[in-house]
Symmetry: D2
């Protein structure tokens, strides 16, 4: 995806490991879209009334991933406290959504969504480790 | 604003203090819009090159307030870990943006933006106190 | 709300009528939050399976209002084609959501949500008239 | 990316061509992230005061792509008027941002950003052709 290339062309690149940041941005994009799609799929399931928590947490997770992905994308004049707090919130949202989706593994979209949430959480944790 | 009324009509209302939640949602909406507007005003200032951090942090703060406002708005099947992490991230973003805006008080939009960030941070802290 | 004050302090204010723009921004904020809240309330209703379209359109409308509100808030170097297209999309989303919510007036949150969508649509139409 | 897989697992899949929709969603994600990154890179350039329009339009384009990507992702109970208006707004935002970025080709991030905007516009046009 082209955002990686744009990111690498910043005039004052961040000193934080680029691969760690780019993996996090990519996972946040995929997780936000996957959660939006899983919430929508759950909504149309015949047992949607059993999926209220899954839908709600997927919506929360999509919104949090969007915010985190944008914050991590910006390299100008970073504030590490802010980045840490937003990425930590994203990791927490991903865990909450993954745990709930894992309770509905009979729905394959919940299984895939849980996997992408777990990967995104891992990518967030790597950013947290990299920025200290 | 009507969102307060919609919030109060939820079939299974949250047990968390509604006034605390509604104040936080309102401040998140105002802070997100004020930060979007302040970033845009900074961009057009003759000394915009001194305002790179203010612009960047206002963009981060707007994105974080949007996510927090949405998460706090939802009452179905809440996950308090998730809500806590997102509201804490919002409080942190508001402080970072306020501190930077306060370095540019010769720009009245930065002064007003800092004030709304401080109010939003306070409203977030009240949510954190209410959800324990 | 403070965003009005920040908006008025822009160093190069737009020539488009400020009251028309500010009303649109305010309605977009309220409509986005009301739709987020109505979708969440619908999700918890006992007849949520009758409300799939209402939930889906409220989510779409919230996302579209958020984008339109941000675009209308920015005054630096505007592109009127872009603003027109985004505000028109917002008006269309508001009508679609209002019409669906009006099919569920036994849920008071749908009634209030339809009203705020109608108001937001009107505010968008006024922007479209003002920018020609 | 996993969102493609989640999309394909929807219980009531849309009749609109999936490849056309998935390409649009993918381009919207990439364009939103690329525009966020390009706006941030422009902000740090020594000639940022020549880049006010590029920054502003990239922010608008990111917000519009995010909204369009979410609307196109949802398959439950679609409203084609709404989808058409939002995707058309996205196409318009992409053109406006591409045209402005193309005025700054000495900045490689503007060149790449213009390319992704052109691709996203094309993907949006294909959705518009597919939904009629």
């Amino acid at each position: 995806m082209s955002f990686r290339e744009v990111f690498e062309l910043h005039p004052h690149p961040t000193t934080v490991d680029h691969e760690v940041l780019l993996r996090c941005i990519g996972e946040c994009l995929d997780c936000a879209a996957s959660c939006t799609s899983c919430a929508d799929a759950c909504l149309s399931e015949h047992d949607s009334q059993e999926l209220v928590a899954a839908i709600r947490l997927a919506l929360d997770c999509a919104d949090t991933c969007d915010a985190a992905g944008r914050v991590v994308t910006r390299q100008s004049a970073p504030d590490l406290r802010l980045m840490r707090a937003v990425v930590a919130a994203c990791a927490t949202a991903c865990v909450a959504c993954a745990e709930e989706c894992e309770r509905h593994l009979h729905h394959p979209h919940c299984r895939v969504c849980a996997e992408v949430c777990r990967r995104c959480r891992k990518a967030c944790d790597e950013v947290l480790a990299a920025i200290g």
